[in-house]
Amino acid sequence: MNEMQLLTWVRGPGLNLAVGIFVLGVLWRLFEIYSLGRKKDLSAPRALPGASGWRTIFRRTLPAEGMLKKAPVTYIAGAIFHIGLAIVVFLFAPHIKLIQSLFGISWPALPSQFVDLITIVTLVALLVLLADRIMNPVKRFLSTFEDWFTWTLTFLPVLTGWLAVRHLLLPYTTMLALHILCVELLLVFLPFTKLFHAFTVFGSRWFIGAINGHKGVAV
């Protein structure tokens, strides 16, 4: 298995397997979670426009009043990371090419130098978040193996992707193969770790929005 064969494997059967497990895992876990149902709230609702689950899905993206100054690192680095990752994944030309080849839809890309800069910013944000998870007493207290593992699972694809585009450290073939492999590992583990918050965050925010919206509280 030399790097060309590795690249061919990860671009072919590897990706197939990973996407398969990903789809299987996501559907399985979504059913498993949301099938538990929720009892209807019999108390008389208090109508307040803007207090609904739907609104909370967006509003909860911003920090609550007065919280930004209490945990600036988490909020700022977290926001930069998520936005950066979104830009790199969805607005970088080769990724759009990939999505087009799989699903047929495509959209204009950002110039690669700009995405390259965003990738560096995203990597730095991730490293800051890692440092904070080590230094912050609460985060370290809460952290289990899964936290360190999922951090790595998220960091490696971005790093290898950047190195591949920049043709650094390893020959392009190997680095591209590693990049795709890391993405596949991320896909495989996502539904079974806390990375699944990428899907359940909408359900959770909707629930808290609906439960409190019923009481006329816009959370």
Partner: protein
Amino acid sequence: MQGPLIESLARQGVSRRTFSKYCATLASMMALSPVAGQAMASALAAAPAATRRPSVIWLPFQECTGCTESITRSHSPTIEGMIFDMVSLDYQETLMAAAGFQAEEALHTAMKENQGKYLLIVDGSVPLALEGAYSCIAGRTNLELLKEASRGAAAIVAMGSCAAFGGLPHANPNPTGAVAVSDIIKDRPIVNVPGCPPIPVVMTGVLAHFITFGSLPELDALGRPKAFYGETIHDRCYRRPFYDQGKFAKTFDDEGARNGWCLFELGCKGPVTYNSCATTKWNAGTSWPVESGHGCLGCSEPDFWDAGGFYRALSVPAGPLQMVGAAAAVGVATGAAVSFLNRAKKRAAKAGHETTTLADLEK
């Protein structure tokens, strides 16, 4: 610089200066020092006189004669043709006049007389299925011929991707069980000269190096001469600036293609292919695949036939996803099953509920 080669070159109107300039370029291409150019020129010129011309045996197995075409494509009386004056090409089925048992006769005598000294060139992959019955010469399988010929060979040159990595016959589903030379012969120095076909000057370069220095050039992990296969096409490609600026041709006839933009999105395998097409180019420097507007196929890399479509970009999956439907079905089924179990468990817990009274607050 004297010697019979110089006289014969002069007869064909090739001056000494042209000959030494050729050796200098050859040496530079092989990443040798300029001084080596001079040494190569004097060695080439003197070689036939000092010793018997080294014997070269060319064994063709499962091959399409593309490599032979390539090495002889020098239709104009270029220097490559002259190289054959330096070697005694004792056996080459396509080029030799003899046929039938005379040809076999020539092969065996060459092997006997130059035992341990001749250079064996192999062209084409070696089939192993049905004990090699898929490809035989004079009733003997390529496998036997290769083993027999390699025993007396000083070195083996696996010419072309088929001999080097198995090539087209080895591609999926590989009915003949074709393998590369290096998969069979483990005890002889082998140099792989992959390409489909390899670049002519690369082939002659390897021969010239063997004749001059009596040894094989420095090889990379896949047994390929680093001089020619040290860098990727992408690193030396003249369209690289377009790649860096993100300017890609989307179709073969769009405005990008006409402007000579990068062909990455049209499946060019340049970034992952080690060869010197971008520098040496083909047909005496006339052009090369990318320059002619078509992406590199990656023909000097193992299993390039099975590396996803030639027209699918590297960053694009090799093929459509087959498993998604089935995976979704299994996912939904598993989810539904677990939901059923969960709801049953929750109902049971509700049914088994024992109303807490004040006394129940104490353990």
